[in-house]
């Protein structure tokens, strides 16, 4: 019965895509509503909550601080430590076991490599900058939402950066290129391409893909993601500015 239901869902999602439509009524290039909050955790040096529709992640930054164990420290720059983790209740259906999976370990690595190009690590030799991410509710695109959250939390912590990194996913269903996949589209689509941009400079710091893509589709996907990232980038800048102005106001009173 359950197998039948998911088969029906797959058929509907794919039929809609052939008509250029999406299961939740969005246009192909329409991102879900983005909610951004900074400074949500009082212990962390910087923190952020990011929601892409029903995907909700929280990120905390600690550092620059002393490295433990010492031998991991680098003489000429800071090390970046990243942990991406999903809460057991964040997935529909079965409870996710709390210990890190191979998937979470890989995602932690690619997120670190998406952030390293922007953080001015050379300013803090022999220290560690730690980024901890918890996925509280997963509805697709969790790794790109995590990158946006990490980038905001780093900025909130006052860590100097060359640019803000913004994560956006693109995907493909029945030759239709769509932005910001939700869980259903991720599950029943033909391809998934998470991308992270240094928005001001237009550089790409995370790029993965599965499925089958023609060279032209890859170009189309990157362009669609970049436009969505620009909107999110402006929202990030506004929320950071807002918090900064608020704190200056609080100080001057």
């Amino acid at each position: 019965m359950i197998a039948q239901q998911s088969e029906d869902l797959r058929r509907i999602v794919r039929e809609l895509a052939r008509e250029g439509k999406r299961f939740d009524g969005r246009a192909p290039d329409q991102h879900r509503p983005v909610r951004l909050e900074v400074g949500v955790l009082s212990n962390a040096d910087g923190s952020a909550l990011v929601a892409y529709g029903d995907t909700v992640v929280v990120a905390a930054v600690y550092g620059p601080r002393e490295v433990h164990p010492r031998h991991l420290a680098l003489p000429d720059r800071a090390i970046l430590r990243v942990r991406y983790h999903m809460a057991p209740f964040s997935t529909p259906d079965e409870r996710k076991r709390p210990e890190p999976t191979r998937r979470e370990i890989e995602i932690s690595k690619v997120i670190r490599e998406a952030l390293e190009p922007v953080v001015l690590l050379e300013q803090f030799p022999r220290t560690s900058i730690d980024v901890f991410i918890e996925v509280l509710q997963a509805d697709g695109s969790t790794r790109v939402a995590s990158i946006t959250a990490a980038s905001l939390a780093l900025a909130d912590a006052g860590v100097p950066m060359r640019d803000l990194v913004v994560g956006v996913s693109v995907g493909k269903i029945e030759n239709l290129i769509i932005v910001d996949l939700n869980r259903v589209e991720d599950g029943y689509g033909d391809g998934d391409m998470p991308i992270a941009f240094m928005c001001r400079r237009g550089l790409i710091t995370l790029l993965q893909a599965d499925g089958q893509w023609s060279p032209d589709e890859v170009r189309q996907a990157i362009d669609m993601a970049y436009r969505a990232a620009g909107d999110i980038y402006r929202q990030m800048r506004d929320v950071l500015k807002g918090k900064y102005i608020e704190s200056v106001r609080a100080l001057s009173q």
Partner: protein
């Protein structure tokens, strides 16, 4: 990882800060202006997590925890063939505090989870028999996962509040038997039966310079001489866990009666927060 329990490193707190916190307590006050037997502000968001069968975010001052309930089907324990099961797990991910390193739950996290588990189990809050699907064969297992998002002391009371709030709001997926196999239908939900009059809560006391304080902040925990947690349900003590230090007999007698007094007030606060039905989403 060894399986030894080892004396814990004391948290580093400047001597001046330590002395001033203790001096303020001796004068009958607290560093944050509270009375000795006063809880911090409590905020509860009920069912913010759509992917969970029940959930709650609890803010106790600056301590923030989130609890989510997930349901699965298991085989009942042989000694209770007509009952379901409750499994409480608590993790302190490294985002909660600068002191925490990534890794599996340490002895503190495991202790808190087990005390919360015992407190709920012995209160009669959950009717375990209602979780039975086919006696001796299939029963619901309730997984309560509690994540500390910001650690500013008294995680255990916040964790217990979050667990019971999440359980109060839990809807079980319907169980069906198909070809002798039990299955969950996740889009058909039935309410989990809980007895809110028995709402179990823990109340944690610390002893500082011969004074008893409830709901300690992290700083207060770090300067305390002793700590104890009392689980209460409807005027009955349902669990006790002394952790650090030592108490004399009169301390314990006083703590027990104070915990029962404080319980009814605390229960009313929690019940009023969890019954205020409103649109809920994840926010901190």
């Amino acid at each position: 990882m060894s399986n030894l329990s080892i004396t814990q490193q004391p948290e580093i707190l400047p001597q001046l800060r330590r002395e001033s916190i203790r001096r303020i307590v001796e004068q009958g006050q607290r560093a944050d202006g509270r009375a000795h037997l006063e809880f911090r502000n409590i905020d509860i968001i009920v069912n913010p997590v759509k992917t969970a069968d029940g959930s709650a975010i609890v803010k106790l001052g600056n301590t923030v925890v989130i609890a989510g309930v997930k349901t699965s089907i298991g085989v009942p324990y042989p000694d209770t063939p007509d009952e379901g099961a409750l499994i409480v797990n608590l993790e302190t991910p490294p985002l909660a505090s600068p002191e925490i390193e990534p890794g599996p739950p340490d002895e503190n996290a495991i202790e808190i989870a087990r005390v919360v588990d015992r407190t709920i189990r012995h209160s009669g809050f959950i009717d375990f028999k209602s979780l039975c699907i086919v006696p001796g064969k299939y029963a619901y297992i309730l997984w309560v996962d509690i994540y500390v998002l910001n650690h500013d002391g008294n995680v255990i009371d916040a964790a217990c509040m979050a667990a019971v709030s999440a359980l109060s709001a839990t809807k079980l997926p319907k169980a069906i038997i198909e070809q002798d196999q039990a299955k969950l239908i996740r889009d058909e939900k039935i309410e989990l039966k809980v007895d809110k009059s028995k709402l179990p809560l823990t109340i944690t006391f610390i002893k500082v310079c011969n004074s008893l304080l409830v709901d300690p902040t992290l700083e207060e925990e770090n300067v305390s001489d002793a700590k104890i947690t009392i689980g209460v349900s409807e005027g009955k003590i349902v669990s006790i866990q002394k952790t650090t230090g030592a108490f004399d007999r009169d301390d314990i007698v006083s703590i027990i009666s104070k915990s029962v007094e404080l319980y009814s007030k605390l229960r009313d606060v929690v019940l009023s927060k969890i019954s205020s039905e409103s649109y809920s989403y994840i926010r901190i």
